[in-house]
Amino acid sequence: MRIVCPFCGERELGEFTYLGDAKPARPAAGASEDDVFDYVYLRDNIAGAMSEHWYHAGGCRAWLKVTRNTLTHEISSVEPAAGVGAAKVGA
C-alpha cells in the first residue's frame, strides 16, 4: 500500500502506523461512562470506504485522516488531522 502524505507526497506503507476508525470522536470532559465506552470499544468495522487515522511515523510525523476502502485497500483521500498545520490558524 502507498499513502500520499499531504506534506511528503507518496510514501510506502512501512513509513506509516495505523490507529483505526477516525469516526469515533473523543467525548468531551464530563461525558458518561457509556459514551466513553462506545468511543473506546465499539466499532462500525466498515466493509467499504472508511475514514481512518494513520500516523506518518517514519516521515513528517503528521497524523492523517485517510479514506480507504477496506475491501480493496484503495485510498480515495488523505487529509491532515485538525491540529496539523496549526501555524496557519488565523492567517
Binding site: G20, Y41, I46, A47, T70
Partner: protein, 417 residues
Amino acid sequence: MKYSIFSLARAAFSGHKTWQRTWRDASPKDHYDVVIIGGGGHGLATAWFLAGEYGIRNVAVLEKGWIGSGNAGRNTTIIRSNYGLPGNTGFYELSMKLWERMEQDLNYNTMVSQRGVINLYHSDAQRDAYARRGNTMRINGIDAALLDLSAVKKMMPFLNFDNARFPVQGGLLQRRGGTARHDAVVWGYAHAASALGVDIIQNCEVSGFVRDANGKVTGVETSRGKISAGKVGMAVAGSSSRVAAMAGLRLPIESHVLQAFVSEAIKPLIPNVMTFGAGHFYVSQSDKGGLVFGGDIDGYNSYAQRGNMSVMEDVCEGGMALMPMIGRVRLLRQWGGIMDMSMDGSPIIDKTPVDGLYLNAGWCYGGFKATPGSGLVFAHLLARDELHKEAARFRLDRFRRGAVIDEKGVGAQPNLH
C-alpha cells in the same frame, strides 16, 4: 460407511466407486431448532456437539460458499493451550482435550500431531513472563516446561546460536501442543454432524434476520430462501461485524488481515512448532513437507483477504534471524484471512442483546486451535441458554465492565493484539 484401513481395502477392489459423499448435500428445510450461520470449523463443530452432546439434531449449518472456505482453511494449523489468563487457560485446555480424541470421535483422521509448541525467549523479562504463563498452565493441570538454553540447543540445534541479534535464551514448551490438518477438521465435523442428521447447506448466504414483533430473531433470510429457526447462532469470524450489523449490533471487533505462508515441500527439517520471541515469526512443517509459517497481522482494517509484501518481508526476516538455514528454501504460496480482532484479543461467546441471536466471535488469530472447544461451549450456550463454565469469561459485556482478558496488555487497540 465407517472409515478404516479395511473399508479402504474393500473399496479398492471396486476402484473406489463405492464411497459416498463425505457429508450429505442438504437443501434448506423451512424450520430448524437451531440455525448456525457459518460453515467453518466452529459452526460445524457446534452443530456436531448440538446433535451428539445435547441431542438437538434439527440443526442447519448455512455456508455462503463452500464449507471451510474462511479461516478454517487458511490458518497455520497450530493447536495449543498455553494461555496465561483466567478464562483463556481453562477454555483452551478444554479444547486441547477434545483435539486429543477428535479422530476417534469423528471417525476421520484430522492428523492431530502433538509434536510440541515452543515459545522462545530472548530476555530475562520474556523468560519471567513465560514463567508466569507456564505456572498458570501447570496450576490448571496443563503441561508446560521452561527450557533453558542448553535444552533448546539440544532440541533445535539448527537455530542461530552464533551471531543472532537477539540470542535465544530458552523457551516455554507445551509438549501436547502441535498441529492438525485444518481442512480435515472441517470435513471431519461435516462428516460426523451430517451422519447425525445435521443439514449442511452450502452456497447459502444469509442476507438478513427475521424478527418478530418483540424483536426476537426467529429466522434468517438467505440466498436460498427464508429459514425459520428457534435460535440462530453466528460463527462467522472475520465477518462478525457485518452479520451482526444485520441485527443492528455494533461489536468490539475490527476485521484485520493475517497472512500465512507455505514453502515448497522438503524432507523433515523442523520437528515442532516454534515461535520466535524477538520478531514476528512462527513455523511448523506440514506432514507433506512444506514449512507453514506466519507472523503479525498486516495492521489495518481489511476485508480484502490478501496481504501486503512488507509483512511477508517482516516474517521472512524473523525466520532468517531465527534459523538462517531456511535461506534457500523457497516460499511457495502466500495468502490472507480476515480475523475478528477483538478489543482485548480474546473471543466472545455469549447471547447478544437481541433475543434469539447468539454470538461466537472475536477469535483474533487463535480460532483454529479453539475449534472443538468453541463448538462445545457454543453448543452448550445454544442448548442450555447458559454459559459453559469454561467460557464464562467470554461475555460480551466484559468490555463495558472492564473485565477484559488482555493477554498482551495492549488495551483496546485491535491491531496490537
